[in-house]
Structure formats: C-alpha cells, structure tokens
Symmetry: D2
C-alpha cells in the first residue's frame, strides 16, 4: 500500500500515518519527494482497510498495490481449475456448449428443444425456471415445475442441466435438481446468495454484473471460494455501455484477461451479450478465438413464439451451423500455428 500525503502535510500528520501503519504490522518506507511525501507500507494488506488510512488528516490518496482477490488468483493457484460436469470439462481446453431456451415455457417445448440441441452437439442444457425480470408484471418463470421439466429433459437426453437461482431460500431446491447452479448478473453482488451457493457441492456459473469491473467479478467469485465451493465457472455476458443497437456490449477482452489473472474457467454468453440473433454466431466464434472455455447460447425451437428473449435465440438450424464453425475455429487456434498463442 502506498500512502500519498497532501502537499503541505505537517510532520505530525506524517508521523500519525506512520504510526498507524506500524501499529498494523507494516514495515514503512518514507520518501520525501519534491512535492509530496509518500509512505510505502509493506506487509499483509488484509490487516488494514485502505479507507481508514485515507480518513487520516493530511492524506491525499491511498494506492493499493496488491490485487484484492486471493483464492481466485493465479498467484494463489497456478494451474487451471478444471470443472467436470457429466461428460463436459470446463477449463481443460475444450469448448463445451450449453444450449437451450431462455425460459422453460412448457414440458413439450422444452423437451423438443433439448433433443434438438443434443442432436447438434450441445454438451449441457440451459433453461430458466426462475426469471429475473425488470418488471413485476412480466412472466417470472414456472418455478419448481420448470425444474422438474428440466430434470426430465436430463433423463431423456443424458445432458446435465443449468439454471439460475435468484434467492438464498431456493438454493437447496435448485441444487437438488440441477447440475450447475447459475448466479445471474443482477445478483453478482448479492453477497448472501454468494455465500449460500458457496456452501453447496455443485459447480456455480457466475455471470458478470451489468456494470461490474473484472476485479469486482473476481471478488464475487472470491466470496464463493471463501465459503468453501471451489467450482466456479465465470461467464462474460456483456456489460452496459452507451451503445443502443446492442442490448449489452460483450467484453471479449475479459476472456484472456481473466485467464491471466485467475485459474478459473471463463465461458461466454453471446445471446445476452448482444441481444441480437445475427450477432450470436460471429461473437461465438470470436469468443472461441480469444480462448474461452465454453459457450452458453439461447436456442429455441421457434424463436418468434418464445415467451422471452426470442430476438436473441438461435433456431436449431442456425445452432447446427454454429457448432460446425465453433469446431473449425477451435481447431485453428489449437493447431500448430497457434501453439504460441499469447493467452
């Protein structure tokens, strides 16, 4: 931690900061510059919160040197975390694709779509039983009924299932039914929910918050890891920007960035990330090219008839084509030519 004193800070103020740092167990290096006095504090940053120093008289600024996440960092664990779900592996260099409709609407439709995506190469099924909706008047999902339909689809297809949990109380219920429990973007900093899913023994799909930085996202993962669950799959799903032609702005640079900072697998959701059907395929391929560990894509047997998110769902036919392209691009980047790929 580096503490920058204000120009004209008094010797007493500098002394007070120095003493506070020493008392907290830091070694302190004092540098009196031309314009500023700086105190470099060496030690375990966790012992002291930066802001308590920032409030001391004469302090201009406190600069943290270490990144705040620990268990999620590559420094803590150097090798990739690989998460196995059914026959799929997240983090081992393969590209498992999770596919299915936005919401589970009814038994027949879901089973139809499930079979269609399985046939075309999906490795897992997705579907929403509890839906986070901006409006209380929008369809909120089928609830446990939806979970049952998903479980039936798993029995039929053999594919593991993924669904979102929106509140602490439902965690046991959801965890009982599904193979991967998703925490949605709006709940990325719902810390009680993070702690709750940190206590179960199922992989967690943690979506990036709507306007979250990569650091905040990794800190959310840290909550889950710190609560005892080491199986966290991160999911980039677009961030909010000024752009209005797309629903969100898919931040693909987060993929190689997170893979440098963390050992956790990162997958990409081009459906929510763009909100436009025509952009799903190109952005899926881009995600593969920059090193993602999987994709989660909305597919609906009849998008024009979907109860939610139809405009960002692929048809089964489009999905089939996409799977071929994903494979081709994956081959290209895994090939000899890309061996030295700087990820």
């Amino acid at each position: 931690m580096v503490v920058v004193m204000k120009k004209g800070a008094t010797p007493e103020q500098i002394k007070a900061v120095n003493e506070r740092l020493l008392k907290s167990g830091f070694n302190v290096h004092l540098s009196e510059g031309v314009n500023r006095t700086i105190l470099g504090a060496v030690g375990d940053q966790q012992r002291l919160e930066a802001c308590s120093i920032e409030a001391l008289p004469g302090v201009e600024n406190v600069v943290a040197i270490l990144k705040p996440f620990k268990m999620a960092s590559r420094e803590f664990k150097n090798e990739n975390t690989v998460i196995k779900v059914g026959n799929a592996f997240f983090g081992d260099g393969s590209i498992p694709v999770i596919a299915g409709p936005c919401a589970v609407e009814n038994r027949e439709r879901f089973l139809t779509t499930a079979l269609e995506v399985k046939e075309r190469g999906a490795a897992l099924l997705r579907g929403g039983a509890f839906k986070p909706r901006t409006s209380p008047y929008s369809f909120q999902g089928l609830g446990e009924e939806g979970l049952k339909i998903m479980a039936e689809a798993r029995d039929i297809t053999g594919l593991p299932i993924v669904t979102e949990v929106m509140d602490q109380k439902s965690v046991p219920l959801v965890a009982e039914y599904v193979d991967i429990v998703q925490v949605g973007a709006r709940n990325m900093q719902n810390f009680y929910l993070l702690k709750e899913v940190g206590k179960i023994n199922k992989p967690i799909l943690l979506k990036r918050g709507l306007a979250a930085t990569v650091e905040e996202w990794l800190m959310a993962a840290e909550y889950i890891l710190d609560s005892g669950n080491e199986q966290v799959i991160l999911c980039e799903r677009g961030i909010r920007t000024f752009e209005t032609y797309t629903r969100n702005t898919l931040d693909l640079s987060a993929v190689p960035l997170v893979k440098q900072l963390s050992h956790l697998p990162v997958i990409v959701d081009p459906s929510h990330g763009t909100g436009k059907r025509e952009l799903i395929s190109p952005m899926s391929l881009a995600a593969v090219a920059c090193g993602c560990d999987g994709l989660i894509v909305e597919v609906h047997t009849n998008p024009a008839d979907a109860w939610s998110d139809g405009p960002q769902s692929l048809t089964p036919h489009d999905f089939e084509l996409l799977m071929k392209q994903v494979h081709a691009v994956k081959m290209a980047v895994s090939d000899g030519g890309c061996e030295g790929l700087q990820i």
Copy 2:
C-alpha cells in the same frame, strides 16, 4: 407500442405481425411509409411483451410508448406520497436529515454519535449492522448486536432508526428493530428481496443501483408497491461513471426528474454519492436547491478512526454547520422568490 418492419418486409410478414397484435387484443394502425412499414398497436401493453414481437420475421424494431411503471407513476397517483416516521415527514416539502456512522462499530461510539447528531438537528439515525462489502475479508457488520445498539440509541434519543437489510431471511429480524428498512444499491434488482420488503409494514428506503437508469429504479419501486407496501422512499446515491476523483457521480437531476415521473419522495446521499468529505456539504445544499425530500449523511464522532467510510464522513462540527446551511437554502427555495419553481 410501435412496430417498425424491416425495409423489404414481405406482406406475409406484415400480416403475421398484425395478426399477433390483434390476437393480443390491440387495435392496430398500419402506416406504409416510403422506407418502412409501421404498425401502431393501441391497447394494454402489459398484455404482450415487446420482445415476442421483436422476434417475428421481418421486424426491425419495437418501440414502447408507455412507461413501464404504473403504481409508482404520477399518472397513477397525482399527489405526493408523504411518509411519516416518528416526527419526520418525507414528501411534505420538509427536509428531514438522517445522520450517523457508516457502520455500527460499538455501543459507546454509536451512542455518542447518536447524541451528537440529535443535538445538531438530525431527524433520524442511520447505521449499518449488515454491511455489503466487495471483499469477503472486510468487516461485515455486527449483525443483530448492531441492531440492538441502534434500538438503544433510539430509546435514548427518541430518533427513529434506519438500517440496511441485505437478504430475504433477515427481513423479519431487521423490521422488528428498525423504523425504516433500507435496500442497498447492490440489491436494487434483487427481486426476491424487493418482494419480501414489499410485504412488511415499514417504510423502505430504496437506493438507486450503481449503474441503474431512473426507469429501472422506478421499476424496482414498482416491485415493492406491487407486493403491497406503499411506503417507498427513493434515495439517489450516485451512479458509476468514468470519473475517478469521486467515488460515484451524484446524479442530482434525478431528483426533479423522479418528482415529475413519480409521486414517491426522493432523498439524497451525498456521502456515498461523492466519497469525499469536502464535497458532502456543497452537494447537500445542491440537493436541497433542486427539490429533494431529505438527506442521508454519514457523520462519525472521529472519522479518522472509523472502520469504514471514514473519508466520506462529516465530523459533528461540520454537520452542525451543514444543518444551518441546509436550513438557509431551504428557506430560499421555499420563499416567495421561488414559488414558481419548476419542479
């Protein structure tokens, strides 16, 4: 709702959209323009979600005409909602000031601060018993112990108390102790929590989300109203922007804007809104000048010693000065000269 067809949409596609709208009970006006065909759908928009139309072949865009919030809107209820808590009124033209430390740290400190802010004119006490922290390693609050200390402070000072609830499960506990239950920025779209606080009989202080639009904020209020609780106090607390010198960017234009769109009272939090002690007073006065219904300000008996948010806390002395200034500005805007104030 206005549906814009793509250039070159076929008559069949237009017909399909038309039929879907008619089936949903809308009256449809068809306009064939030079470059685009447009369908204006007149009726109850709630019956149909825009996105299901957007997914139909040939549709370029769907434009919603009505605002999505209903119970929160001035159209639904024209007169201001006035919420009485103890002797304070939110929404009647007065400026109740809620003051206290960021976190309840221990009994003695909290009681000291409570007496200090009461003496200087605070109308309510604030304090955090459950703290939403980005890091799992930061101080998370005293929990129920903190609630008890706050309740004792209420007994001693006679001032009502406000604290944040972070999860559904704790709602009954928190509601038992405090007079106003706060929903924090990170939980603004924690829809289950919104529904839960919508069932209790205490006023809710609903903070605006970190990157939320005014519409999303009012939709969050709508969740609470729709669940049966009509006592919602909105709180502007700054939004995320590119600016790094301040913690957030306090969006004061949200105050007169929300008062036009909604009947609910709006208060302002200049402490979280700026993150800098020196900006709290000027921004508090600005909030009063543009018509806010109250303030919530962090005051700590010794900010340099605070466990959290010291840099954005006023000393009791600064707070005393601020209260005088708030009074002066309020007088000025309420005066003859400002009678026609365009709010």
Copy 3:
C-alpha cells in the same frame, strides 16, 4: 511515481528499472515486500513518461503520484482566477448568467431575445453561429452572418457576447467579433484548436467533453494555459451516462471538485446538461448552491419554433423567474449561515 514489479520479477529486471529511473534523474527507494517489489521514484515526473517504464520486462504497473496538470492547479496558483468580461466577473463569487438561443436563426429573433434576456438580468449573450451537429444534413449555423447579428445585439444591449468556434481556421474571425470564445464538448481534445485559442487575447469558455474525466478536462485547460492564454472559464455541461430520460447527466459534483483542484472559474450549462426544459431551473439553483461561478442558459423567445434545441430552452418568462430564484439561493449560500461552506 511508484513502479510495481510483477511477482517473480528477476533481480536483473528490477535492476534495469532502477537504472532507467536513475538515468532519468529520479531518486529511487526500493521496497521489497512479501509479494511484490516496489520502486518509489522521487523527482520531476515530467521528465519521463510512465508508459516507457510500463513496457520494461517484469513491470506490473506504474502508479502516478502527482496530478498531471500544473498551471491549472491550485498548487501552482492558490488564489482564484477572476475573469472580467464587460461588467461581469467570473470567479469573484458572483453569478453572471449568460443567456440566449442555441443558434442565431435570424436578425430579428436574436435581437428580440437579446433584449428580453437583458431586461431580465442576463450579464452576457450567447448564440451559435457555427453549430456542431451530429448529422451533416442538420442546420449548421449562419456563420459570419450570425457573428454580425450577435455583434449588433451587443451594440444594442451593451452585453458581451459568447459563441463557439469549431475549427482553427475560424479562430481569428470569431475572436474579432466576440467577447468570449467557446470550445465545445466535442472539441475538448481537439488539441490544435486548444493551442490556437491559447494564442488569442480573449477569455475561453472550455466545455467539458462528453465522456471526459475531470483530469482530462483540466489537461485540456492546461493546453490553453500553456499556449499563453490564462483566461479559461470551465463549463460543466453534463456527461454521457446510461440514463436516457435526460440528454446528459449534469455532474454538479465537478463544481466543488474543480474548485478544489484548480483556481479557474467553473460555470454550469443546465440546458445541454439535462436537455429538458423542466429541469433547467432546479439544476440551475443546485449549481448555485454548490458554488458555481456562473450559468449559461438557453432562452428562446418561442422555444416551440426554435431551429435547434427548443426542448431545452426557457421562455423569457421562465427565465425571469429563474433569475429571482438564483438570486435568492445565492444570498442564502453567501450569508452568515454559509460562511463556513466547505468548498
């Protein structure tokens, strides 16, 4: 400057950074922490660009300690810069109000509005002769003809005039006609234009860029100051955020913040800052309450008939009311009660 080395940086890498810093004339303090080695470089930061250090092998991060602006800073010049234009003073604690239509549309209308705003207390006239328009097909202003009309209005009313210059080549022409030359938000980082207006002997009204930080804004002012023109008036005009109900988000916290960081006067443009007529008056009063040095407000004799920006223009009648309110709030904050105002 503080240089943070990567975990595992080699002694050779650390040595190389050390030598580069020494060669550039810095004194270097080396701190070997538990997890990171840090080099504190004390000296004149201008001599070395941070990024050249950042590119050295083994460097994780370079943290600048000093703010990059010099001539614009309060450290460079402690007392407020006061700029006199006609009988108006910017920076002396008064609130000169600049008023007029967005664009000069024709002679008659402009003269009418000019007389109307003068009568109601405006201190200067504004009007656009060259208009920055997103679309090449929109009205681009009357050009020199507009300047002539403005000059005539000055002759008639005695009020100084303000207009925007959009390109280097027109600087001499505009400077010949007007009393304050405005650089618009879209040109805040048009560095050649900044240098050009830095060479003339007229005050410059420098608007904040659409998505500019306060630091970038002050660096733009630095370009003008460094080119020889010390008369810079800063103008907050709203920044881009996700909010769609307002045209921009007026960042009023920039007012007290800039007044702490810099000696330059700061005025506020609530018309562009909000884009909504109903918000102009409340936000003007808020700007006064938080310490602005002036206002620039769009007034049109008949807003519904304006060629541009009608929705954000006041009528002369509204403007009259606003002037009274501005006066009342200014009195309140200047009064005894606000003497200790923390700005």
Copy 4:
C-alpha cells in the same frame, strides 16, 4: 417519425403538432390510444428535425424510425465497398494487416521496424508523425520530418503508409505524403476535419470515438462521404467503460453490427483497444473470427524503449507468430464449415 403526446394533451395541442407535420410534407396517421395519442409521420425525415417537434406544447416524446445515416448505409448501397491501397484490399474478404510503431521516433528505428514487419507479412505501415497527447508536455511527434521518414520507408519496403492527421490545416501536407489518412478517436466529431478529409482523394481511416455509439460513428463517416470522399475505412479501437485493467474495452460486436448496417469496411485496432501486449494476439484472432476487414497493430523493434505506447506494442517476433495465427483463423472462418456464417 412517431410523436407521442403527453397524457392529457389538449385537442389544440394535438392539432398544432398535426399541422406542423403536414406543413413539413409528412402524411400523418393519428392513433388515439387508451393512455396516449400518437401521431405517425410518414415522409422524408430529413426535412424536419425531431427536436423542433419535441418543443411543441403537449409533446412527450419523438421517436425516430429511420436511421439517420444514408450514404453510409447498406440500404443506400448494398454491395461491400472495397478499398484498394497498394496491393492491399479492404472489404474484399481478405485481412490486410497494418503494422508499425505508435510514433515515428527516428529514421533508423522506423526503417528497421518497417523492414521487420514487411518481412513478417504486414501489408501496410503505420506510424505517428502528429501525436494526440492528453498532456501538452508529452512528446507530440516529429511532424513533417516524421512524414518524410515514413515516405522513405515506403520507398524501401514498397508498403503503403498510414498516419493520423489532427487538424484541418495539415490535411494537404499529410495527404501529399501518405496513402491512407487517419482521423483519430478524439477527432471523430471534429466536423471541420471530417469535411476537409472528405475533399481529398485518399482513403480515410476513421477511428471510433472514445465514447461514441455506432450510430455517431457512422454519422461521422457520413460527413466524409457527403463531402465527396467515398473511401472510408472504419476502425474499432475500443470504447471507454468502467474497466481499469484494460485501457479501453474493445467492442468486437461492432464489427458484425457495422457490417450489417453499412457497406464500409471495418478494421480493428487491438493495441489501443486493450492497451496490453498480452491481449493483442487473442483479440486480433477474435476480430478475424467475427469478420473484420483488417487489423492495425503496434509493433516496435524494442517496445521497452518506445517513446509512447510501449506497453501495447508487439515485438517483431510476437508479430510473426500472430500473422500465422491470423491466417489460420481466417482459413477456418472462410472454409466450407463457415460458409453460412451469419454476418
């Protein structure tokens, strides 16, 4: 254009809007809904600016239906614009790579780098002779001297050269020396500069503004096209977001989006787009995978010694590797498997 009247708008107000629209040559369809009256105006939207309607009494909102860009749109010109520079083609499905240092620092270094990138497959050379710098105290480029060095490098390598022009006055000078004239992000809405480069007979590389929407970017292109220059190459270079680990957030979804909306070629700058050397290669491959028409990459013979942007420059060795990977990914997406790619 759709005009939404306020709830409770009077018949007179509706009539006034109707008449204004008719007078401007529109056909008007009036829809009286349950809650709102809507007027659909069919005709040439360019004739009337939306905001003049928005200012009429009783109007709540005006919604534009047509996109504001014309000459830049696919509706105006369906086939891809292909721009030939030397032996390179932008827009024909190939991926020409522009490479070179951020700034031209001296003759020897530039010629060395030029030969190195040529050898490794670069199709054009880049280099800055005029540098837009946030600080007036930073290195501003060698000016004409830099242009001469670039021209010499072209003579030696046979590769066309690209450089930025920052001001109107220098347009003829720059155009005389270089093969592609670049307009930088900070000048994207410097409308006079856009008009000036619209008059020359050289291709223009138009970078997206720091916080520009895709629509604003295409409108900037429209300025150039409308001034007579049809050779515009768009360049995505990252937008500003809250993320601090990267310099900007590269918006790759803009690539397939712009290619849908426009016939102009789009290239990608992963160096400025990320600001981190380790992210350049993965993001270059992602750009290729989602359909870009070229890349512009910073390469420096010794990044640690570069005068600017060293941290985001590749070494010649990394560049060689990247060129192979780009080729492999391009092959994959052009292949049979990707024939139906939804771009």
